[in-house]
Amino acid sequence: MTRRPLLLPVLLNLGYAFLYLPIAVLVVYSFNASRLVTVWGGFSTKWYAQLAHDERFLDAAWLSLRVAVTSATGALVIGTLAAVVLVRFGAFRGRGLFSALVAAPLVMPEVIMGLALLLTFVALEQILGWPHGRGFLTLVIAHVTLCTAFVAVVVRSRLSQMDRSLEEAALDLGARPAKVFAVITLPLIAPALAGGWLLAFTLSLDDVVVSQFVTGPGTTTLPIEVFSSIRLGVSPEINALGSLIVAAVSVVILTASWLLTRGEAERD
C-alpha cells in the first residue's frame, strides 16, 4: 500500500462542516431567548411554545402531511411500476420515450414543471370540467408526478441488483408472473419501497415552487407558509420549526438505516 494521503480526509471533513454548520446554528439559535441572531439572550423554549399555538402553521402542517402521505403513496405505485418496466421488460417500442419521461422530472427546473402543470389543469378544466378549481387534488397530482421519478430511481437500483433465482424457481414451479411479483419480488424489494416512499413523502412535504403554482386560494401548504414568512424577515419561530424537522428526520433516518442494516445482517 502507498502511504495514506492526509489531504483527502481533511477536505472531506471540511465538506461535512460546510454541510452541517448551518443546521447546527439553526438548532442552537432556536433556543435563543433573544430575537436577534447575533445576541445570545439565554436559553429559552418560548419559540417552540409560540409555534405550538400558531394556527397558521398548524393548519398548513396538517394539510402538508395529508398531501404528502397521499402523494407518496401514489408515487410509490406509479414509480414502482415504472421501475419494473425499465428493469424487466427489455426493449419495446416507446422504451426510449418512457425512460426519458421517467427520468426527466429529476432535473427539470421546478418553475417549468409548476407552470406547465398549472396551465394543464386550467386547460383540462376548460375542456373536461376536471379538475374543478385548484387545491388538494391538483397539489397531489403535481407531487405524484414530481416524486414518481425519485421512487423509480430507488426501486430500479434495487431491482437490478436483485438475485433473480428465487423468482425463476417460482416461475419454473408454475406460479403466474403476477403472483411471483406479489409473493417473492415485493418482499425482496420492500426496503427500497419503504425508502422510496419516505423519499417521496419528504419531497412532497418540502416542495415550495411547484406547490405555489398549482395550489389555489385557501390551500396553503407548510412550505408556502414558511416561505412567505421568511420573505417578511427572519423569525425565530422558523428556527424552532426547522429544528423540529431536523429532529424528526434524524430519528426516522437513523431508525430506518438501523432496521435495514439489521435486516441485511440477518439475511447474510
Partner: protein, 304 residues
C-alpha cells in the same frame, strides 16, 4: 425474456399503462400546452389567456391568434436577456464550485475502508432529507450584514466593516452549492467507487507519483461521473427560484424569478410560458446529453 423489440403481452401492457399514461398526461402534455400557450396573445392581468384558435368565425379552419410575438418581446427586452445570461452564468459558476468541493469528498469516501463508505455517504445525503427551505433560511442568518459570519469575523478582529454577502451573487452561489452538493457527490462516488485499485497500484509501480496517477488514471476514468454530476446540478440550477429570491435579494435577476414574477405579479401567463420555453431551449442540449449518459450507464438492464 422476450426477444428484441417484440410486442408486449397483455399482462405487461397492463403494468406499463398506468405509469405511461400518467407521465404522458401530467408530464409530456403539460410541455405541449406550455409551448402552445407561449404563442398566445400576451395580456397583462387577464389570465388565463386568449384562446389560440377562434372557432366562432365559422369556416373549416379557425381564425388563428398564434404568433411568435412573445418571443420577439423577450429578445427585445434587456431585462429578460440579462436574466437569461445571468441564470446561465450563475448556474455555471455554482456547478463548477460544486464540482471542486464535491470531487475530493467523493474521492475520499470512495477510498475509505468499505465498511465506512455507507455511513460517510449517508452523512452527505442526510441534510438533503431536511427541509431545503429551512437550510436556505439558515444561510440568511449566517450571511446577513449583522449575521453570524460577520460578527464572528469582527469579533476576531479580521474585518472592520461587515462583508456584504447576503443579496449578492456570492450568496446565490453559496446557496446553490450547499443545496445541490449531494447531487454532485452521488454520481461522482458511483464512478469512483467502481474503479479498480489495481490501476493505481500499477501506476505507482511504473513510478507515477500520486498526483500524476490521479491526473492520468483516476480523473479520466471518472469522466462519466463528472458529466452526470455537472448536468444534474446545472440543469435545475438554471431555473432555481427560491435561492435567488431569498439569498440574492430583489436585485438578483434570474429566469426562474422572472418567470414567477411575470406569472404571479403581472399575471401574464403567455409571457411566462414563453419564458419557460426559452429556458427549456437552453436546457435541451444538457438534458439530451444526460439522457444518453444515463442509458449508457444501464447496459445491464437493456439486455434483460
Amino acid at each position: 425474456m422476450t426477444a428484441g423489440r417484440a410486442k408486449l403481452d397483455w399482462g405487461r401492457r397492463a403494468v406499463l399503462t398506468l405509469p405511461f399514461v400518467w407521465l404522458l398526461a401530467f408530464f409530456l402534455l403539460p410541455f405541449i400546452i406550455v409551448a402552445a400557450i407561449s404563442l398566445a396573445e400576451s395580456r397583462v392581468g387577464i389570465p388565463p389567456y386568449v384562446p389560440l384558435f377562434d372557432w366562432t368565425q365559422g369556416g373549416v379552419w379557425p381564425a388563428s391568434h398564434a404568433s411568435l410575438d412573445n418571443f420577439v418581446q423577450l429578445f427585445q427586452d434587456d431585462l429578460y436577456v440579462d436574466a437569461y445570461l445571468h441564470s446561465l452564468s450563475v448556474a455555471g459558476i455554482s456547478t463548477a464550485i460544486c464540482l471542486l468541493i464535491g470531487y475530493p469528498m467523493a474521492l475520499a469516501i470512495a477510498r475509505a475502508a468499505p465498511a465506512r463508505r455507507g455511513p460517510l455517504l449517508m452523512l452527505v445525503v442526510l441534510p438533503f432529507w431536511t427541509s431545503f427551505l429551512i437550510r436556505v433560511y439558515a444561510w440568511m442568518g449566517i450571511l446577513k450584514d449583522e449575521g453570524l459570519l460577520n460578527s464572528l469575523l469582527q469579533g476576531l478582529g479580521l474585518i472592520d466593516q461587515p462583508l456584504v454577502i447576503l443579496n449578492t451573487d456570492l450568496a446565490i452561489y453559496i446557496g446553490i452549492v450547499y443545496s445541490y452538493l449531494p447531487f454532485m457527490i452521488l454520481p461522482l462516488y458511483a464512478t469512483l467507487e467502481r474503479q479498480d485499485p489495481a490501476l493505481l497500484e500499477a501506476a505507482a509501480d511504473l513510478g507515477a507519483r500520486p498526483w500524476r496517477a490521479f491526473l492520468s488514471v483516476t480523473l479520466p476514468l471518472s469522466l462519466p461521473g463528472i458529466v452526470a454530476g455537472t448536468l444534474v446540478v446545472f440543469i435545475p440550477a438554471v431555473g432555481e427560484y427560491v435561492i435567488p429570491d431569498l439569498l440574492g435579494g430583489s436585485g438578483s435577476n434570474m429566469l426562474g424569478k422572472a418567470l414567477w414574477d411575470v406569472f404571479a405579479m403581472s399575471r401574464d401567463w403567455p409571457t411566462a410560458a414563453a419564458l419557460a420555453v426559452a429556458m427549456l431551449a437552453a436546457l435541451v442540449l444538457p438534458l439530451g446529453l444526460l439522457n444518453r449518459l444515463q442509458r449508457r450507464l444501464e447496459p445491464a438492464e437493456e439486455g434483460a
